[in-house]
């Protein structure tokens, strides 16, 4: 099994490789904004758990814009933002699990994405494009 650090490393890798974003560790405490998306990806395999990523809604829009090659300022469907936030979580979770080199296959659930208006109390663990994101890893077995 692995630590939260390896999950955040995977998130940074995905952000930089596919979303043209800049990821950096958190040096000082940064508050989470109230308007966020929560992304949950459950996995089963050699072990079972859930990766939960909470990111500012503005960051989700930035990532969607960069990924899809949309011009800044152009209108983006909220459904597309949520879809891509889920795909971001899926890629991060898959990259992390692949990095572990386990001998058994993992199955990932369809990402669950929901607006999260109560993220202000969550601890940020890293920055992407200078915006805080919160990550939790819930290992169940």
């Amino acid at each position: 099994m692995s630590s939260l650090k390896s999950v955040t490393d995977a998130i940074a890798s995905v952000a930089e490789r596919s979303f043209f974003a800049y990821a950096e560790p958190l040096i000082a405490a940064v508050p989470m904004p109230g308007d966020c998306y929560e992304i949950r990806v459950a996995f089963t395999g050699a072990f079972t758990g859930i990766v939960r990523i909470v990111m500012p809604a503005s960051l989700a829009v930035d990532l969607c814009t960069a990924f899809a090659g949309i011009e800044p300022g152009d209108e983006i469907e909220p459904a597309n933002v949520a879809d891509l936030a889920g795909e971001f979580g899926n890629m991060a979770c898959g990259t992390w699990l692949t990095s572990l080199g386990e001998s058994a296959c993992f199955s990932l659930s369809h990402p669950l994405v929901r607006p999260c208006g109560d993220a202000a109390s969550l601890p940020a663990v890293m920055l992407i494009n200078e915006q805080p994101i919160s990550v939790t890893l819930d290992l169940q077995s």
Binding site: F67, E87, H110
Partner: protein
């Protein structure tokens, strides 16, 4: 089935945006292809495969309703050997690659990928 056989492509992924990204990468590749079809899961993909002549199938693994692995099993069971199968998945583990080894998968692209990866895949499967 269509009378003529341009190199049609089917992209299978439960993410609308990921399908759009792959489609864009295909168009940017400069490789001449026919119609680009899309499906949100393996079941939808099978329905398209039964109606259209598809040259290359780009499929995700983890999808609701029917996974990419099951889709490839169905393709093999139907004897559609003319279809070139390419997996595009976050799961690049050796265990997963081993699982699909017998399903005639030509190439395996790990997400996240650069658009050039799709171009390289197309260049290989179109020749």
């Amino acid at each position: 089935m269509e009378a003529t056989s341009p190199f049609n492509i089917l992209i299978v992924d439960d993410s609308t945006m990921m399908r759009a990204m792959i489609k864009r990468a295909v168009k940017l590749s400069g490789v001449e292809v026919g119609t680009i079809h899309e499906a949100g899961n393996g079941q939808e993909a099978l329905e398209i495969l039964e109606q259209h002549r598809i040259g290359a199938l780009f499929t995700d693994i983890n999808m609701p309703v029917m996974t990419g692995t099951e889709l490839l099993r169905q393709v093999a069971a139907r004897g559609w050997t003319h279809i070139i199968s390419v997996i595009v998945s976050t799961d690049g583990s050796s265990a997963r690659r081993e699982e699909v080894r017998d399903l005639d998968v030509r190439l395996y692209v790990e997400k996240p990928f650069a658009p050039e990866a799709i171009r390289d895949v197309l260049a290989e499967v179109c020749h």
